[in-house]
Assembly symmetry: C2
Homo-oligomer: 260 residues x 2
């Protein structure tokens, strides 16, 4: 299966490329991200020569809350009738290996949320569920990091955007896999090597196609935008220095650490 | 007082320019927006030859809730200890004269909120209140349009982002005025010619400098980003076809209409 990456070379310049999937170490360079119909530049690299970056450059990350049946049951929340979401700004992005930086102003719990990410390939506005698949470029992994104690810090206004919008709180990567079959896959999150999340994506409330269709009724999704489809059971807090790895078989592993 | 605009020419091309303020009809063209240190191109236009666009291209609009004492008292909400905000995406932008498009999926109340907008000129991350002024390029007018009935439509998750994030729900313009003295100014909103809002900006809870400083502790503000500082008393709903005009003396008037 093809896999698209974005990388920084040793000289600091940034490029895009394609590998032949998990386990392949050969990178064919292209002149743009996979969703803009790029052409091969003729260059090739070994994967370990390159520093991986977040594999796309979203203008926004649409992050869903309460999109798994098991979590809804645990939280005793009703199954939503429309995707419930907030926006993480482009400035929140972090790539594979990057530090999650503790905000200077916050000494509370910082929480990991391992998730599947949908990467938009083609502008989507008011698209039907049937049309949605053609607007999805592929799938990636997201750690939707959250300053959990801020959400309810003000009793009159839940601060979802602030809690999830800090710089480096939107970890994305390592690669985008077009045609990935999410139905058979699970999300696994390890905190300092210990498995803390392991849930099947088939438990999703709104499927990726339903999400793209429904959200595109609300706002236009642009190429490179990411939908973080929500997490399930096992969310927990990360101490400063902790290493967190979110894995989805067929996409890869996204590893980040917390810097206090 | 200088005033910066962005415009479309008769041939469809887009440009940037400066006027000598409200009432001046001569536009000096520049090769970029005012906050990137642009140079005059040598061209000049009459204002009425040009179709005005939103005067900047924000990556995000940070929209505040509950930032005026009079509104906090009316809503019986405590004065917040930190700006309470959500993000309106770049895709929500509309310019002067543009239609506010009713979403196909929504037949409830669509509400105007006349507001002052802060336009960021220089990247701001963890800046102090004293430093904040140098990161503000100027001030504009915002109509922070809201699908009011969506906010509380799901009892478990207030949908601020969805309610305020629809395409065309972020009306901005007509111009950006550097050095604008907001302390002496008022925001007036007229609905179909009838004044519905008229409140002094001096009633703001967090000043623009405090907003830039506090929000820059949470997320990086980029050049062109807009902070919508929040509204005060007099918010109301707009029927399809309604014309709404938000005015601030010294900046101008932002006129939009609702298309059902």
């Amino acid at each position: 299966m093809q896999s698209w990456i974005r990388f920084r070379r040793a000289d600091g310049s940034i490029g895009h490329g394609r590998t032949d999937g998990v386990g392949s170490d050969r990178v064919i360079e292209y002149d743009g991200p996979g969703y803009v119909d790029p052409r091969p530049t003729g260059a090739a690299y070994k994967l370990d020569e390159l520093h991986l970056l977040a594999p796309c450059e979203p203008g926004k990350v649409v992050a869903l809350w309460n999109n798994f049946h098991a979590l809804a049951r645990k939280l005793e929340k009703p199954v939503p009738t429309h995707p419930l979401f907030l926006i993480k700004p482009a400035t929140s992005l972090a790539g594979p290996g990057d530090a999650v930086e503790r905000p200077r102003s916050y000494d509370g719990k910082i929480v990991y949320e391992g998730e599947l990410g949908i990467v938009i390939g083609k502008k989507a506005r008011n698209v039907s569920v049937a049309e949605a698949a053609s607007h999805i470029f592929g799938y990636t992994i997201v750690n939707d990091v959250t300053a959990a104690e801020l959400i309810a810090a003000d009793p009159s206004f839940p601060q979802w955007t602030r809690a999830k919008g800090f710089d480096t709180f939107g970890c994305i990567g390592p690669a985008i896999v077009p045609g990935f079959d999410w139905r058979a896959a699970s999300v696994k999150t390890r905190l300092d090597g210990v498995e803390r999340q392991n849930y099947p994506l088939s438990d999703m409330i709104f499927s990726p196609e339903e999400q793209v269709s429904r959200i595109s009724q609300d706002l236009t999704l642009m190429p490179g935008d990411v939908i973080a489809v929500g997490t399930s059971l096992g969310v927990g807090s990360m101490k400063d220095g902790a290493v967190v790895e979110v894995s989805i078989d067929g996409i890869g592993s996204l590893v980040n650490h917390v810097r206090g």
